[in-house]
Symmetry: C2
Subunit: 390 residues, 2 copies
């Protein structure tokens, strides 16, 4: 009989003893709202009874759809109507569903690089081509997008979708400027290009309200915005949503997967709606923002103090700082030394398609640890840099 | 501001007033284990704390994987090891993941018809060809499978996967004979054909243990068995699993979707594991079997009494009876008359690809109503038949 996995950890992240691991964009577990979600589950089951365990409405549990519409009216520049929203099993599953339903084999997906590496993985599991577009400190470079699209067309290719993270970017932390956002959606509309806007970090805004989403600025139905509750509530619930035109929302809600299974995650979605209705959602988001803001600030201060000749992004939200290492310090050479000294990071090249770019940059996640531990991690990083250079 | 969907029903199934609706393979809501799942959620959150809300292990929550391995040792002829199991968001999502990860554009999926109509929908959302194979009262006809495969190859096509429901079939209720099962898996192995075995109804066995799965009989790694907790516990939880070779399981667990989101439905899966560990799962399955057995028996007795010249399948499990209507009675003509008299069904042609087959047959689901209501539905059906014929 094969061995049990009973002693295996529940979680995806397996800590290495003695290593402060800044490679993972996972929440600090001590911040997760265990008690409130337990109570919300109790109330939701009392309120709905067997309806919470049935096959759910295919577009998603109506109270959660209502909450999403109301919440986006507060956090974004435009709110969707309920017919423009579909509940997903997280942003990952939202992107996977977009790829299955909205892309044909052989079409090209554009990505401004660097980008979320696991979005590259999700898209790579579909029979599409991937094409890189340049980015700078303010996000995707529109001239390069236009150039790439034109070149693809000349080559007889079919550029169909741009995947981009416009706000509190993973891995760089930057946000596309307002002017560039509007120009981007205008370009997409005029070119018949869809945009899958990964808006996972909208709620984690530390210095004031987040910028308007591409979806909010788009009057032409070009943008499918992929939202998430992983970072604003908890990743293990597996809940997110899509806002899109009624036509695209309907295509998703009426596709085989949702028609067969009902709403993607009916039970959890209905629990989350109950949690949100209690006011706990707003309190939790504030709690996360306060904690993560402090963590961001301490990480940045630590870097400025201990690795002063690194150049670091200053994210207005999200989980990540992008660090250009001091000249001559190569991330792949630094990594084993850093681990030996008790900290870990992801090298920047992981966020490109072919792995050879940005050899002297790294991504640091500040989400998982309190400020003092983050400073400790930076001290270890600095020692590793010194060791490598010396 | 667009209207709220707040008054919309939570569920996918929207009852029509006065209509006994035998079109839906949904559970009787009064049987759903609301209290036990609420208590299991409480215990699971007490036991695991924040770990239940983190990104989960990608193959799925380990205690649920362990339960699946142990349970299949009891209900099937072979048990998987933990490295052969991946947790999905229901059987629907399991099939969708198989289609995304194991099929290339243009490959052909074979289906013995009639089959689960929404599996046709799920597969149709992927860039594959669908090809019908004949079936009879004992399931897929192997001579026709061999013929179709040979013809496809002569035509330069790539038959890659057979989708089939071997046990307590939807829509016909039949199960493939033991001899034919073994011959089928042998054929698949020798032809390099994968089989996606939809094993959704294994637990709902009313006349003794269910037959061994194709997966259990397969020594060559040809079968990917798709399991479900929708019918044995509750559909709204959105939980199922796949048993396959370690290579296929690993491909799924390490694909972009699961790598990005962690386990498909970590929170719900961990709750379900707690529920199962308490013994509630076994008690609930027995409860369902007793109720559904009685419902099946009353429906069949009612059909024998009130529509004696219909020919009905006698399912050993599952949710469905396949009814060959009396000669000359066309399902599409019968349907509006039946609805006017207060009952509904799905016409058999819905379970084929092109919709023109089996015009004089229907599928009846006995899952949603107690026995006396099912008999009432049959009386109404009989009256509709009489009206149509007269």
């Amino acid at each position: 009989m094969s061995e049990r996995v009973g002693d295996a950890r529940l979680g995806q992240y397996v800590p290495a003893p003695g290593v402060i691991d800044l490679a993972w964009g996972h929440p600090d577990p001590t911040l997760l709202p265990v008690d409130q979600l337990r109570e919300a589950t109790h109330r939701a089951m009392e309120r709905h009874g067997p309806d919470i365990l049935e096959y759910g409405s295919t577009a998603g549990s109506p109270p959660l759809i209502n909450f999403i519409c109301a919440r986006l009216a507060e956090t974004d520049a435009r709110a969707p109507g309920p017919d423009q929203v579909v509940i997903t099993s997280g942003a990952s599953q939202g992107l996977d569903l977009v790829a299955t339903l909205l892309l044909q084999p052989g079409e090209t997906v554009l990505l401004d690089l660097p980008t979320y590496h696991l979005a590259i993985s999700i898209l790579s599991d579909h029979p599409v081509q991937l094409k890189a577009v340049a980015s700078d400190a303010d996000g995707i470079v529109l001239d390069d997008l236009a150039r790439v699209v034109a070149q693809l067309r000349r080559d007889g290719e079919l550029p169909r979708l741009l995947y981009t993270i416009a706000t509190f970017h993973n891995p760089t932390g930057r946000s596309i400027s307002l002017e560039r956002r509007q120009a981007l959606v205008n370009f997409a509309a005029q070119e018949g290009l869809l945009i899958a806007e990964d808006d996972t970090y909208r709620e984690l805004s530390y210095d004031g309200p987040p910028p308007p989403s591409l979806w909010a600025l788009d009057g032409a139905g070009a943008v499918v915005r992929i939202g998430s509750f992983a970072k604003s509530v908890a990743p293990g619930l597996r809940l997110g949503y899509v806002t899109a035109t009624p036509e695209i929302a309907s295509r998703m809600a009426n596709g085989g997967l949702l028609d067969s299974g009902g709403g993607m995650n009916h039970f959890a979605a209905t629990v989350l709606a109950e949690y949100a209705a209690s006011g706990d959602y707003l309190r939790q988001v504030e709690r996360f923002r306060d904690a993560y803001r402090g963590q961001r600030d301490r990480l940045l201060a630590g870097l400025a103090t201990h690795v002063p000749d690194a150049a670091c992004s200053r994210p207005g939200g999200g989980f990540f700082v992008w660090v250009q290492l001091p000249p001559g310090v190569v991330a792949d050479e630094l990594a084993p030394i850093a681990i030996a000294r008790g900290m870990a990071f992801l090298p920047a090249h992981r966020f490109y398609v072919d792995g050879s770019e940005a050899p002297e940059a790294i991504r640091l996640a500040f989400s998982m640890y309190p400020p003092e531990v983050l400073e400790d991690a930076v001290v270890r990083l600095a020692a590793a840099v010194t060791q490598l250079r010396g």
